[in-house]
């Protein structure tokens, strides 16, 4: 018996198998129960011990080799088969998808979030108040009596409905009424911010009948104007992400604060763009001051013990400055193109 001959024969048959079935047939023909190699192995029993030894090990090697050849061929055939199947599953990968637009958060949302976080790190918790306010909360409690010229500073929307005092409701012209609501509700120390919608009847590219403000209020035994200054400078540094920030505090007037101040940030124009922080031009950022004792007394706070400061920041304005946006009207138009170009993705928000 020539092992080499059998090997040649079986190798040829394996190679010629073109399907897994054919190969299976070859496997049966050689390694099956009645296969040629199996038969040869069976026939060993008739041989002498000497021959058994030499032929047996050769035959075993043959069996292992054939087995491997078949296994490899099986693998090759499987790959071939899948590959030929895949050929029929080719799609036109270049067929363009329908247009889609990135879904994003509104820039004001991002600002709200940052404002809450930054002031949160300074110990301010969030407070809220309604948009439709009474004359008392929006004006008189804040030391803005009727016929006071300060009322003309703010073009007020009135509502066709009257409060308990018989005065028409107003759309709050600032977030400051939340100061009063909070002070009437909780005893000092009070340290809150109140972000929200505000309204004035004014409409052009820099004024919108609806806009956003955040109010801040800190009342305790000794909060002073130096603390106010430090707080607002720190806020601006963090919000605008400018460490080297040139600011200016200058006297101003709000009936509910005394002394009152406005804070400006220096800027310069670099490549036709506003760059905040340095330069010799100034941008008004916010109004602030020490809470007028009259206001504290209106809220039954003992002014011999307590004092503090308040501030109000236009959120649309600082958002526009931070991101170089120019027309406030586009904020509220619901234009998805605008949101896609100026909003924030989930990762950025």
């Amino acid at each position: 018996m020539d092992i080499k001959k059998v090997l040649n024969e079986v190798t040829k048959e394996i190679e010629q198998s073109s399907s897994q079935q054919e190969l299976q047939n070859v496997k049966v023909a050689y390694l099956g129960k009645k296969g040629k190699i199996t038969e040869l192995l069976k026939s060993l029993k008739d041989l002498s011990l000497e021959e058994k030894k030499s032929s047996g090990s050769k035959l075993n090697l043959l069996r292992i080799e054939v087995d491997n050849l078949i296994k490899n061929k099986f693998n090759d055939l499987k790959i071939e088969e899948i590959n030929s199947k895949l050929k029929n599953e080719y799609l036109d990968i270049s067929f363009p998808p329908p247009n889609s637009i990135a879904s994003k958060a509104h820039p004001i949302s991002k600002t709200f979030d940052e404002v809450i976080t930054i002031f949160g790190s300074m110990g301010y918790s969030v407070a809220e108040g309604p948009d439709i306010e009474t004359d008392f909360f929006n004006f008189s409690a804040l030391n803005i009596p009727e016929n006071h010229p300060a009322r003309e500073m703010q073009d007020t929307f009135y509502i066709d409905d009257k409060d308990k005092e018989g005065k028409p409701y107003v759309l709050r012209t600032h977030t400051s009424p939340v100061q009063i609501r909070t002070l009437l509700n909780q005893k000092p120390p009070v340290k809150i911010i109140a972000p929200g919608r505000t309204y004035r009847c004014d409409s052009d590219s820099t004024h919108s009948p609806m806009f956003h403000q955040v109010e801040g209020l800190f009342i305790n035994e000794n909060a002073n104007m130096g603390d106010l200054k430090g707080t607002l400078i720190e806020f601006c540094k963090q919000f605008f992400n400018v460490q080297n920030l040139k600011v200016r505090f200058r006297p101003s007037y709000f009936p509910f604060t005394e002394p009152s101040a406005e804070m400006d940030i220096a800027y310069e124009i670099v490549n036709n763009k506003i760059q905040l922080g340095q330069g010799d031009r100034w941008l008004e950022i916010l109004g602030c001051g020490m809470v007028n004792p009259i206001v504290l007394e209106n809220c039954n706070v003992d002014t011999n013990t307590y004092q503090g400061f308040a501030f109000g920041v236009g959120l649309d304005r600082i958002t526009m400055l931070k991101y170089g946006l120019t027309d406030i009207r586009s904020f509220f138009s619901g234009n998805l193109n605008w949101i896609a170009s100026n909003g924030f993705t989930i990762g950025e928000f």
């Binding site: 998808p97 990135a102 879904s103 066709d160 409905d161 020490m290 619901g334």
Partner: protein, 797 residues
Amino acid sequence: MKFSYSWLCDHLETDKNANEIGEALTNLGLELESLTDYSEYSKFVVATIKDFRKHPNADRLNICKVDDGTNTYQVICGANNVKKGLKGIFAKDGMYIPGTQINLKKGKIRGEISEGMLLSERELNLSDDHEGIIELLDDFENGTSAVEALKLNDPIFEIGITPNRGDCLGVRGVARDLSAKGVGKLKPLNFKKINQLEFASPIIWNINNDDNSCEYVVSRYFKNVNNSKSPEWLQKKLISLGLRPINALVDITNYITIDLGRPLHVFDADKIGKKLDMRLANANERILALDNKEYTLDKNTTVIADGNNALAIAGIIGGDLSGCTDDTKNVFLEVALFNPNSVAQTGRSLGINSDARYRFERGLDKNMVIEGLEYASYLINKICGGLVSKNIEAGKLENFEHKINYNFDYFNKTIGLELDPQKQIKILKDLKFQINKSNEKECEVLVPPWRNDVKNKIDIVEEIIRIYGYENIKQSVPSASIEEIDKIDNSSSNKKFKSIKKLKKTLISNGISEVITFSFHSIRAQEILKGDKSLKISNAISDDQSYMRNSMIFNHLESAELNFKKGFKNIQLFEIGPIYNSSQSQENILSLLISTEENINSIYKSEEFNFYSLTELTSILISSLNFDIKQFNILRSTSNTYHPGQSAELLMGKKLIARYGKVHPLIMEEFSKLKNCFAIELFFENLPIDSISRANNINILDSQFQFSEKDFSFLFEKEQNLYEVQRYVKGLDKNLIKNVEFFDLYVAKDLGDDSKSVTFRVTIQSKEKTLEEKDLEQLHKNILEKVSNKFKAKIRS
């Protein structure tokens, strides 16, 4: 408030330049809004058109030969007033033209070289006039600077005056404040009192008002005056501020209004009666005012009247018929103290913003009544001649006296800065406050009469720091205490904002963009969505913004339509914000709108968006708030915003948690461009804040034992609430029934009109062992029996 540098110097002796003064004004709280300084215009010079000819290639252009004193230039000019010998203002190649904001470049215009430009007033930002080039009337030499030729050497300040600083509505008041800041020395007023008051005024006063709207009035009668053009110095002053000179008498009153901040009025004495009244107007009384408009007055308006006729609206505006003209021979001057409140009220209700009203409603310096009278008399007498009467007055001029007890420590405590009492006193004295008694700790401060805004000791602190300088306030580093951090952690508003952020993230990751729309509703939206009547805005800007919204859906449909017009077919947007139930109730909700088009894309064909897609999205949103949609009661929505058959409401007890569905076709008729619109309204404020704000940590217990699935089909009554069935099945064995998933619904004629066939799959798994067949069979049987009994359902398989 506008004034020129030279005008300021009438009152202030200073060596500071305009920029330095501008900075000092801002630091005083008199914010410099603009400083118009034309010194850079000295580069533009006077030049003469020596000759000109028509441009060969352009009808309207001329080729001019222009001489600027040094050279002759060829200039192409399109102005229609080009003529030989005209003297204008010339700009050379390379110069920046402020009005057009461009740098001039030498070049060819229609083939002819142009080496410069003759300027119009608009090109110099002097006015809007662009009718022609500037034509100088005086004979300046060529090469003279434009600053000199156009008399632009007097910088103009414009400052913002806050409502408390009525004292700075006159140039003198501004000068006084600057002098306190150390910018210069206040000069004494430069006029002589008239000593010869020869006769009694033939016109007399009577104050007859019920609401004290006039405290005091004083007048003089001027006989035989000669009213004509004002002298040049006066005209120039008014022109420098953009005011038009009228005649000497009117110009004098305008001048004093600006100079001293003291409004006063002159009547033509021959056009009024002999007995003047200060009285309340009759209802519907009319007056033609100096602004040429007729006003209808009411019973709250104080008027100056003779007999029956209203002559002027007190403190606001004079009447046209009694005004002074060039022919005026006799004049009656009126200087009064009107009540700021009534002037403000009248001014507002009539909508008149006059210089007088502006000043009266801020309160005037009482001492300036007589000073104003004397100053005006002096100027009238000097400019118009004639004789001056004795004073005629009515009412009583009370002395202004306001004392404040002030302790020096109060400054330190408020500002956080130690300032020596002597320094504090010095500042107050510089501001002309009197210090009556003082010791180391406190003093008594007497407020000057022009500072009626200084009422309490905190106002004294402000005065001191204003002059001392806000830049000297030392900033301290803010920090948060443990108690404050604790408060933040427990604040329900903070929690709410946290949940809102979570919700927003979920929405954005689902491909929905955030918008913010106005809190308003149009009249139409109000009608359709039936908002509460108390939401009407009395003084709305437009019909589109007439009400406060009781829903956001209308706004979002408008946004969708806008985006549709921009080419978007599938629009998905949301807003989290307030809606208003009445003037006294608002809530923050999430409102989401999805507007879909018919899908024409055969390749990327996704399922048509429908009510069930919307339910799935609602479920995702509710999950992000740590709730499960199936734990709520579900009802058909009765809201007329939605399709009655394709909308739902989720309730927790009686609280509405969500409402969603297809937008009602009647509403869609308003938005003809849009096809299928779906909305979700999530009333997240009705969910317990502590549950929705905690971090998402849904506890899914993982079991390692084999699970089994079994499908059940039942025939239910048509309106059977399947959420209930689901909850019931799940509750049958809380330990073993892991999941109940509904996946088929069949409604057809053959089942009858009242039934629906529903199939669900129950997943059964134990946490302790692999269940045996008999356990499973028992459970299956149990489900079949219990469900069919409980819901009167027929078993289908």
